[in-house]
């Protein structure tokens, strides 16, 4: 077996193998055009090597001429595909250079088939066979060079310039290694290719080995491919490790990870997520399936949040209940992130969901207990005022009794004045209604219902409270001055709870003035608007003792009291109520004597009162 056959065949073989590998890669990754282009160029190089082998064994002029003619085809393929490959893979090389190379080479090819015998030779006169290394006999053409062949040489020159330019670009980019290997082997190959015109012009006598000019590239690309594969393996390993870590984290945090392919409306979710949402292990999931699992009351808000994220790209976050197949309820918090394509359309949403049932239940329980506390405090206060309330009921009852008994006497006397009896009956009715109102008020106070949200006039709240505590105030000889502003805007809230707050403040004020002389026992209740804050302000001013400055914050804490009796919960409950109404409660000491307690509430429709 001659070594020339072996070596040229090996070259061709290597090129075919590399082409095949790249072709397979391209088949798997259709967007990876460089791989296809490289495959084409490698196939072309392999063909060139094979044709050169045939040329070396060429016996006749005609045979040789035909071979030279046909070698231009793979040369053309090689040039074009490799230049395109360089542009795509290395992302380097000037466009105009590339296009001029394409144009020139194509022209050369066309010309090659027009001219006879081919573009390189005007005429091949003879084949010279001589001995070369290793005792091989090779054929070399002797003939007259075709001036048109210069075009071919020109294209070769352009190719060299192109390669140099591309390599410089890659080097400047910082990709030194690649510039060295790929760029270097390209340039080396281009330089080597110059042997062709030299042989044609009869300057040197060596066999054509254009195929080998390509070998450097093959080696370089082979190296790149191997390192790519090595990197891929490593990446795959890292990915697997990262995936494992992610899963472990998600598992221990009870997170369900999900991904929603918006375009195809398919949802992928981890097994944990499936069990979280109560989906079957192999159920196909889409957005509708997710929607159907939501609690009817929460559906609206969740859909709104999703739609908002899809529209604005904002982070998705919502808390909602789901109804499991066994009718059980579960609280979930979901967080996600939307990905958009180049046209700004949402294509994917990725996120995580977490079971917060326990937390939500704790929150609800805490809220319930707070409500209980508020109610308890209210009932206790009412208990302490029971004397006052009994008196309030006593008055109308006494009036009713005496009116009725007077009427009885009048009728028994004989000469009854019906007009008077009518008056008596009117009085009875109105007193009964008054008593009924007191009972109604009491019932509202004692009820433990849900917190109401009504539109209220704060002045009415003040009047209602004063009605309830009237007798007590008279008993304690406290005078109340009301400075209620007209046209105070309405606020939203629970009337009973706000009365509770005001009552507490008034009772506290009275207690503070217990040691004052009677003329000093004055209490001022003011209502008005707080400038610039969009809030309604209510204040209760007494003339009792002052609050020590360092205790100003503490007085609103639970179980703080300076009184001999009571648990000290009143002000902390007031604070809870006012905060729940998005208002603010505070106290200041008056300049002369006593203290003033203020609370502010946001006006209907405005933001929370902030100070």
């Amino acid at each position: 077996m001659s070594w020339i056959t072996i070596v040229w065949s090996m070259n061709a073989g290597a090129c075919f193998v590399l082409a095949a590998v790249c072709f397979v890669v391209w088949c798997k990754q259709r967007e990876s055009w460089p791989h296809l282009l490289f495959a084409c160029s490698a196939v072309a190089a392999a063909c060139i090597a094979l044709i050169e082998l045939a040329m070396l064994r060429g016996k006749t002029v005609g045979q040789y001429a035909e071979l030279i003619r046909w070698i231009h085809v793979p040369v053309w393929v090689l040039t074009l595909s490799f230049v395109a490959f360089v542009r795509l893979y290395l992302r380097a090389g000037r466009r105009w250079l590339a296009w001029s190379i394409y144009g020139l080479r194509t022209f050369v090819l066309i010309l090659n088939f027009i001219l006879t015998p081919n573009i390189n030779f005007r005429q091949i006169t003879s084949i010279r066979q001589f001995s070369w290394w290793g005792g091989e006999v090779i054929s070399v053409p002797i003939g007259v060079a075709n001036p048109w062949g210069m075009l071919s040489s020109l294209s070769l020159l352009l190719l060299l310039v192109f390669f140099v330019d591309a390599t410089i670009t890659v080097w400047r980019r910082g990709d030194r290694l690649r510039a060295l290997f790929v760029g270097g082997s390209m340039i080396f190959g281009a330089i080597l290719a110059w042997h062709v015109p030299l042989v044609i012009w009869g300057v040197i006598e060596i066999p054509f080995f254009l195929g080998f000019a390509y070998s450097g590239i093959v080696a370089a690309m082979g190296y790149e491919l191997c390192s790519d594969m090595a990197r891929t393996v490593q990446l795959a390993r890292e990915l697997e490790a990262s995936d494992k870590r992610l899963n472990l984290a998600a598992e221990s945090a009870d997170l369900g990870l999900w991904e929603w392919d918006i375009v195809r409306d398919q949802i992928w979710i981890t097994d944990k997520g499936r069990s979280l949402f109560g989906f079957e292990p192999s159920e196909k999931l889409d957005f509708d399936r997710f929607r159907s699992g939501l609690h009817p009351e929460d559906r609206g808000s969740v859909l709104k949040a999703v739609e908002n994220s899809l529209r604005t790209g904002a982070e998705y976050r919502s808390e909602f209940r789901i109804v499991l197949p066994n009718e059980q309820l579960r609280w979930i918090v979901g967080r996600g992130h939307v990905e958009f394509n180049s046209e700004g359309q949402p294509v994917r949403m990725r996120g995580a969901s977490l079971d917060i049932t326990k937390r939500k239940q704790a929150e609800l329980e805490a809220a319930r207990q707070r409500n209980e506390m508020v109610h308890l405090s209210r009932v206790t206060m009412l208990g302490e005022l029971s004397g006052s309330i009994a008196h309030e009921l006593n008055l109308p009852l006494s009036a009713i009794l005496w009116n009725a008994q007077a009427a009885q006497r009048v009728l028994a006397n004989g000469n009854a004045d019906l007009a008077e009896v009518r008056e008596i009956l009117n009085d009875i009715v109105s007193e009964d209604q008054r008593a009924g109102e007191v009972i109604c008020h009491l019932r509202l106070w004692l009820k433990k219902g849900e917190v109401q949200q009504h539109s209220l006039h704060i002045n009415e709240v003040v009047q209602d409270v004063l009605k309830l505590i009237r007798s007590d105030l008279v008993n304690q000889k406290v005078t109340v001055d009301c400075e209620l502003a007209r046209n105070v805007p309405t606020v939203t809230g629970d009337p009973v709870q706000l009365q509770q707050v005001l009552l507490n403040l008034v009772v506290n004020a009275c207690d503070a003035m217990v040691d004052c002389n009677t003329p000093e026992r004055r209490l001022v209740i003011r209502t008005g608007t707080e400038n610039g804050n969009g809030a309604v302000l209510v204040s209760v001013t007494d003339r009792g003792g002052s609050i020590p400055e360092e205790k100003m914050e503490q007085i609103f804490e639970p179980f703080f009291t300076t009184k001999a009796k009571g648990m000290g919960l009143g002000l902390s409950v007031c604070h809870t109520i006012i905060v729940a109404h998005r208002g603010k409660l505070w106290a200041t000491n008056n300049v002369d004597r006593g203290a003033t307690f203020y609370f502010s509430l946001p006006i209907n429709g405005s933001e929370a009162a902030n100070n």
Binding site: A390, N394, S398, A399, L401, W402, Q405, A406, V410
Partner: protein, 207 residues
């Protein structure tokens, strides 16, 4: 039982419907009624010589029932007070009774009970007024005595003989006899025993 038309029941209560209803009951029972919404207004219009009684609410703003009682007591009023209260306040009721209230009732109270208290109070008032009138009459009579006659009066009610009195006063028995006759005549009594009774009522001590 009817009472003389000059008996007036005064009603002081700050709560109008109660005032009106009490007035109606009293009116239907045949009493004259004068109602006032506050203690101050009552004081302005009250004539101490009127026969009657006072139905008074304890809990009132500014001047309350007990304070009014004290004011009336200081002014030497004999008007009986019937307190009405909405709450069963023991300290207040004790204080009221100690300071001489006629009665202390808790609302709502039956009309019969109220009327009974009113009648009893009015009778008490009648007696007291009569006594007051009698006393002032006695004092008027005493005022007509000359200082000498007054002295003689005091010796006479001590049981001294004319001779002794003459000796103590440094005058003759005859003068004493004349003074004594004047005293008996001016004081309009027939016997010494009567005179003694009168002077005791006035609180004049024997010399």
């Amino acid at each position: 039982m009817t009472v003389s038309p000059t008996a007036t029941v005064f009603v002081v209560d700050d709560y109008a419907p109660v005032r009106r209803s009490i007035s109606r009951v009293l009116h239907a029972a045949g009493f004259a009624v004068a109602a006032f919404p506050s203690a101050e207004e009552f004081l302005v219009q009250y004539d101490p010589h009127t026969l009657g009684c006072l139905v008074l609410d304890v809990a009132m703003p500014s001047l309350d029932g007990l304070e009014l009682q004290d004011i009336l007591a200081k002014a030497g009023s004999v008007l009986p007070i019937i307190f009405l209260t909405g709450t069963a306040d023991i300290p207040k009721s004790v204080q009221a009774m100690k300071h001489g209230a006629s009665d202390f009732l808790t609302k709502p109270v039956n009309d019969e009970e109220l009327l009974a208290a009113v009648r009893a109070a009015i009778e008490k008032n009648r007696d007291r007024l009569r006594e007051q009138a009698e006393l002032s009459e006695i004092r008027e009579r005493l005022a007509t005595l000359t200082p000498r006659e007054r002295e003689v009066l005091e010796y006479v009610v001590a049981g001294k003989l004319n001779k002794q009195i003459a000796g103590d006063l440094g005058t003759v028995e005859q003068t004493v006899k004349i003074h004594r006759a004047h005293v008996m005549q001016k004081m309009r009594v027939q016997s010494v025993a009567e005179l003694v009774r009168l002077t005791q009522r006035c609180g004049i001590s024997a010399r």
